[in-house]
Chain length 338, copies 2
DNA sequence: TCCCGTACCACAATCGATTGCGTCATCTGA
DNA sequence: TCAGATGACGCAATCGATTGTGGTACGGGA
């Protein structure tokens, strides 16, 4: 069972392979007479010709592959984004290549080099750090790329994320409405845009409500349960009074729950808690966690759309920043201050 | 910033490209003098040479792409397997292409056809149904493929999974040790090997303990919370007495929790519950869910290793079935019968 | 000294499709 | 009737790496 190649089709149609190539390619079809086009098309049909993307890619330097770079697929934040992106990409005839950097810069660089060597047409990157050399290089090299979820300081690349500031404001407003006046923020690492953005938004929201100035903003070392527990432990040890915590994300919130339990403080009885990202199944927790929901799938899809418009050259110009709407899911981890 | 090609390395080392190719390839290195190998290797290193897999693939008729097919990336069961597989594959110079079938047979077929046209060297498939035409075709066509997590009836392809039977036995043993004698099983769909296997193992375990014959085995329509709730609702409505449930997986267990709560039955007070897969963060639930843990990452890695050994032809022979060890994570959703 | 085997490497074909360029035939208009 | 324009297609180079074949230099044995 031999694979049919273009030369076979050409021979069957009685034309030169070059002509057959033009006849089969919609872009160049006009250079061939309609009659010949028909003959070639029919021969291709009859022989069951399937073009070889490898050979085509070698010549055209395009692979129809899009790389998506995430720090850790097992973090429930990313799979919905992957799905959203994949849907758009396959629709457009592209194939998504997922790569997991394990939160490691060296791995990330290696993986991206590998994919570039393979001729990947563009990247969707969810691993951006606030100062990111690798991404600066990519931007400088003119490789089509779109950031999702996390941005960089330089804003050289298009970015798709959630409206972090509004999310934080919704959280703070909700807590204030419940009577809280001593609200802490255990945010994400300062080398991520989300960590910085949410912390800044938190400070601003708190000030707007005229609450006591904020010596209650701490950055966790990572977006993990452990880092959250550690930071919450330090907050508790500091003996500063607080009745509510806005966590940098849900995993950090998990850590806060642990630390509160260990310290014998009840949630939401003594401390209200709000997470970020609205991971699945938060409603099953004890207590069900109030959280800010981001439109993850839509973020992935939007990033893919923007990337494609850059890949096929139809969109140039300065990189756009697009912020999608968020929503506060109120559950039982927040309660009126007693 | 032009890409370095083999010819550049050859020129820098003062040899012919063909020689450079042989020097860089471990298979053919012996045909080149050690001194030359060193010169070429050093030049390649210095110039930062990265071979072009597309060109190589054109000549060798290999793409170095491996497709991994999962029903739904957002199901926490799959990301760890993806990670495990990816690690092994990139190590071996392959690139993983992830594709999400959305639990839809038509989508699955389309995606796989697409990847085959692209020259994908093999597949890791986690979507197998018990009777699966598509996989039968693949096996017949001789496309290298490995099943993971779910098997087919025909067993034509290598399979890597958890030791389901032992997992179920551990669960039942645990419940029996707590004094339960009326144990129900709300299993997965019968068109999946996991659903069938776990149900069969459940029946066997129950019989071995001499418990009353089991009219308490029900198959849910899907591995979802909704299907679990629905099945649990029917079980409750049937008024059959039971004090414990072994769920087909954790999502089904979630549904059971919902149904119990709606029916005013407490867990673990009145009904003990055990899940399957040990999703992350089950310890944060109310109540923390006892569950059977599968070595997901290792399953993915093992599947990748088996696939690679088939792709490079070093392993032929009949398809092997490999069952990895499982573990029962005991938490608070199981309690002595009162 | 001559011959032959061996080791090492260069040359060029090859994988399959794309594409710039050249050629031929046909058509148009003067 | 002929120059020039136009359309349709063939030719061959090209993408970058791999690999079968052939050639050269060196060594050892007679």
């Amino acid at each position: 069972m031999q694979r049919i190649k273009l030369a076979d089709v050409a021979r069957a149609a009685g034309v030169h392979p070059g002509t057959a190539s033009r006849a089969l390619n919609p872009e160049t079809r006009e250079q061939v007479s309609p009659a010949t086009v028909r003959r070639v098309a029919r021969a291709a049909q009859r022989l069951g010709y399937v073009p070889n993307p490898v050979a085509r890619g070698l010549r055209t330097a395009r692979s129809f592959l899009i790389g998506m770079v995430v720090p850790d697929v097992t973090n429930p934040l990313f799979p919905p984004m992957v799905r959203g992106a994949e849907k758009v990409l396959t629709q457009a005839g592209y194939t998504l290549v997922l790569t997991d950097t394990d939160n490691d810069a060296a791995t990330e660089r290696r993986q991206i080099e590998l994919l570039r060597a393979r001729g990947t047409d563009g990247f969707i990157v969810a691993t951006a750090r606030w100062h990111d050399d690798l991404l600066a290089e990519i931007a400088a090299a003119g490789v089509p790329a779109v950031l999702v979820n996390r941005n960089t300081a330089s804003a050289e690349l298009p970015y798709v994320g959630g409206d972090e500031r509004t999310g934080v404001r919704l959280a703070v407003d909700h807590l204030v409405a419940l009577g809280h006046r001593h609200i802490a923020h255990l945010g994400g690492p300062a080398d991520t845009s989300t960590g910085r953005e949410r912390a800044a938004a938190f400070r601003q929201s708190v000030l707007q409500h005229g609450l006591p100035a904020t010596d209650l903003v701490w950055a966790c070392a990572a977006y993990t349960e452990e880092a959250g527990a550690e930071a919450a432990g330090r907050l508790l040890a500091s003996a500063r009074p607080f009745t509510a915590v806005v966590a940098g994300n849900d995993l950090i919130a998990f850590g806060v729950l642990d630390a509160l339990a260990r310290a014998g403080r009840s949630c939401p009885g003594e401390v209200s808690l709000i997470g970020f990202n609205d991971m699945p199944h938060l409603d099953k927790l004890a207590p069900p966690l109030t959280s800010v929901a981001l439109p993850l799938a839509e973020m992935g899809a939007q990033a893919a759309r923007i990337l494609l418009s850059r890949v096929d050259g139809s969109a140039g110009g300065p990189p756009a920043q697009s912020l999608l709407g968020v929503e506060l899911k109120v559950r039982a981890s927040t309660a009126p201050v007693t």
